[in-house]
Symmetry: C2
Subunit: 359 residues, 2 copies
């Protein structure tokens, strides 16, 4: 039994900031609905005015919503657009702000047609950071998820040897995360050996690990809705000098970036630390993705730590730091931790050692 006071009124309050009398906000992103109400179903919509809020769900979810979003008015719908129209008309809404990255054009055009006098206002920047700063309770859940992930990683380390297939390790790792209490894997676990480790988003396949392979494992658990995200790259048998060198450089990029993190630095500046170091090392063109991303109810959420991003990190944001170097056709190295930003620096939530480990 959880004894925290309900976090939902404060969150709805933040959502409503600056809202005028006849305005409403439409929330359709599943994780935003969960964040604002506690409802964990995969389909629904939330419509909120300055002093009212209605959760729209279809027949499959009525019983569940009644329990999870207790205290919030429920409206059962057959069709989401019809429901939104009914509620908006009922409250004589004049303008609806909505999440433009989450609402699809099909529903948008139908809402335009059905509510011709209502202004539909796309919101992007306004809601993007809604969930970015985590509460102590949220950080505790991510920490717990990270602990489960690290435990499972440790448990499968013994499987990382010649002859074992990538997918066998991925299956075992996810099984162990779930036995340890994870709701599920936060994303499809990556186990990428040899040339597959040169694909940042490889899918674990039937490739057998061979002597001298880099093996990249990127995994995360979900605990009470919250994700973790961690990547280790191991080397099997004998590491070549070039592998050791590249590992050392990625590790240095990772460590320097983590040392640079603190409340007040911009996301682009964080990316610059990792990217600048790898560029100086002649590997800039081999680092083909951003340095990191926010982690929470979604494993990828705001903010993005990438070139040119101007958002400022705040205490309580939880982000990944994951520089990588990929040599197509050969191998790759990625090292990733999930950290919580503090005023003075950051706390690393993913606790697996990032020392070069030769198995």
């Amino acid at each position: 039994m959880r004894h925290d006071p309900s976090p939902y009124p404060e969150r709805l309050g933040r959502l409503r900031q600056g809202m005028a009398g006849k305005d409403a906000l439409l929330v359709v992103h599943e994780k935003n609905i969960r964040y604002l109400t506690g409802f964990t179903g995969s389909d629904g919509a939330l419509l909120a005015g300055a002093d009212w809020v209605v959760l729209l769900v279809d027949g499959r979810y009525v019983t569940q919503a009644r329990t999870e979003a207790a205290g919030i008015e429920l409206f059962e719908v057959r069709n989401r657009v019809d429901g939104i129209v009914t509620v908006a008309e009922g409250w004589a809404v004049e303008a609806i702000g909505f999440e433009s990255p989450s609402l699809c054009v099909e529903e948008y055009l139908r809402l335009q047609e059905r509510l011709p006098t209502v202004a539909l206002r796309p919101l992007y920047e306004e809601l993007r950071l809604l969930r970015a700063v985590k509460s102590e309770e949220e950080i505790a859940r991510i920490r717990k998820a990270a602990g489960i992930g690290a435990e499972a990683l440790a448990a499968v380390q013994g499987m990382i040897r010649p002859g074992v297939r990538e997918r066998e390790i991925a299956i075992e790792l996810e099984y162990r995360m779930r036995l340890a209490g994870a709701e599920r894997a936060a994303f499809e676990t990556i186990v990428a050996a040899g040339a597959n480790a040169a694909l940042p988003h490889a899918t674990p396949g039937s490739r057998k690990i061979a002597e001298g392979d880099c093996v990249t494992i990127d995994c995360g658990a979900v605990w009470d809705g919250y994700c973790s995200d961690e990547t280790c790259t191991y080397i099997v048998g004998q590491a070549s000098d070039r592998q050791k060198e590249v590992y050392g450089l990625v590790r240095e990029a990772h460590d320097r970036t983590i040392r640079a993190i603190r409340a007040g630095i911009s996301c682009g500046a964080v990316d610059r630390v990792a990217r600048g170091f790898l560029e100086e090392s002649g590997l800039g063109s081999r680092f083909s993705h951003g340095t990191g991303h926010g982690v929470g109810l979604d494993v990828h959420e705001a903010p993005r730590l990438a070139a040119g991003r101007e958002e400022i990190l705040c205490a309580g944001m939880v982000v990944t730091i994951e520089p990588g170097v990929y040599l197509p056709g050969l191998w790759g190295v990625r090292i990733e931790d999930t950290v919580v930003v503090t005023e003075e620096g950051c706390e690393i939530l993913t606790r697996t050692s990032k020392e070069l480990t030769i198995l």
Copy 2:
């Protein structure tokens, strides 16, 4: 090694039907991109003209796309909208048809702004059935997935006994599907006991199975991208007369519906068979969802078998039949098979017995 001739030219040909000289089609739905090119990454866009086609991917996916979508022109992008604009301008495109249920409003508004002279045409009905009729090769994959699911269901049947937690069964079932070759579970396995079985989309929790519980297990595997979907409801220990009666009625609704399926019948008429029977039995209001849905690269895809749907079933469509009765606070029964529609009737791909099983 697969020796089928590439299915992609025929599929792209269907996509392009009726396309004029300066028209283009924009595909952003991940499974549609896979269907049309073979690229399995989770982010990308496909832009196709009458005689050209370009796959847009970001840096993470370049190597993978080069292998999976061999022969298709690749364009590396940092930002999807920027890439679409560049390609559309390069081909002097005058109109772009796009998947309105998949494109988000945010990208749509940016495309409108960046391509002011290009007509953006929402497509919904036109593409909805693109993947609905399956080839023999696709059906073989779904059959294989269904076999893996049924094998895993059989393997965990012994766990369905008092004292075992729902999630323990779900974890074991998914583990066994993957050990048997499934890429992953097609969706989060549902194991719902007792009052949880009255929630059509329950999440497996720490509830322990008790004597007299209905236990609903809804699961599916993915094989080479293709999903299966099957639901069994078991009764533990002693079944009450009412449980036996409701099980029999849901079973009868399921069987009658399967007997009604054949090429040429409308989706609404199929739904009517199940719903009509349950209404006559006084349980119509307890059947709170549609009768079924298409299954393929997505576990839920077109067509929908629900009230009033006018689409006509064609030979080669693969759909679920899944009537259910839910008694809130008490228990529920759902019985589901995945079938392939034929000219004369249908073939059931999910082979677990749907006889009342008391464990």
